[in-house]
Symmetry: C2
Amino acid sequence: MILKSQVEWALHCCAILAGLPKGRYLSTKALAEFHGVPKEYLSKALQSLSQAGLVHTTLGPSGGYRLARTPDELTFLDIVEAVEGKARTFVCNNIRANNPCRPQGYCESAPCAVARVMWEADEAWREKLRSVQLSDLIDTLAKEVPAELWKKSFEWVLERAG
Amino acid sequence: MILKSQVEWALHCCAILAGLPKGRYLSTKALAEFHGVPKEYLSKALQSLSQAGLVHTTLGPSGGYRLARTPDELTFLDIVEAVEGKARTFVCNNIRANNPCRPQGYCESAPCAVARVMWEADEAWREKLRSVQLSDLIDTLAKEVPAELWKKSFEWVLERAG
DNA sequence: GCAAATAGGGATATCGTTTATCCGTAATAG
DNA sequence: CTATTACGGATAAACGATATCCCTATTTGC
């Protein structure tokens, strides 16, 4: 069970978009080049962000993406769920219903106890992702990324932002 | 990203094995029939439990599986990891290293900040699974499953336990 | 108005994983 | 000795992740 690589791409792209001056847009082409990932496929991930309402888009030359909210209003969970979906990672097939001792037509009152535990763990995962905002990531990166590289990257993006 | 159905099967099988009298074994055939799942494929899941040391096996007629530890020494995480593996659900491909502004031969000091957050969430998921013991599940089932069904199921298993 | 660049969506192809089955081997109980 | 079992390897089908291509509508700048 491994998350799509698109999740990683989307998170990194949002980190870049967070640094865009207000009103500017960055294209798929620039984001793909910056991260060294296939443009056409990255486009699908960005479309997922768009459909989830996390980013705004414009068409035409100088078009592209910008965040729809401020970085402190965007959580990791928002981004992960936009790409990966909101479905739980554990699917209950209710195999207890195959119990040969079970009376005919017996109807379950509660969700399977096994599934409930697995869903609680799933929720713990989501809660952790919900607790981290995009702004937290930016703060961390600002500390960790060497100043020179940080500055150069910012300029690189600005040159291409429409 | 969805867990294998084998995870569900393994959890339910362990719950059944927890009810076995000391020293008795239950075969793949019986476990597969009880849960209505393909015997050959379930066998792979049980082999995973065996390789992880969670269950003991014996060969021959009246052979099969029994728990290697008491239900309060077996956690959900033990079982989930035995089947699903211990690898993290988020794989960092270190795409930040593709940054065109990055100086040649630059070597990262720390794991990617994005990956660290994702791994913390993964750990939160595991911690939750680690906190629930198989005995907890048995307690819940003992309360929720109708007494009649509980008794019949127990008898069904005993008839087939070697 | 026109040309270039863009997001968006659909169709398609490739690859790896999950799911599933089959078979041969070794061990064991009766 | 026979029947039954766990175990491992080989194989195949089904599915999702990855990736590419193409067409359309829209927008910018000339």
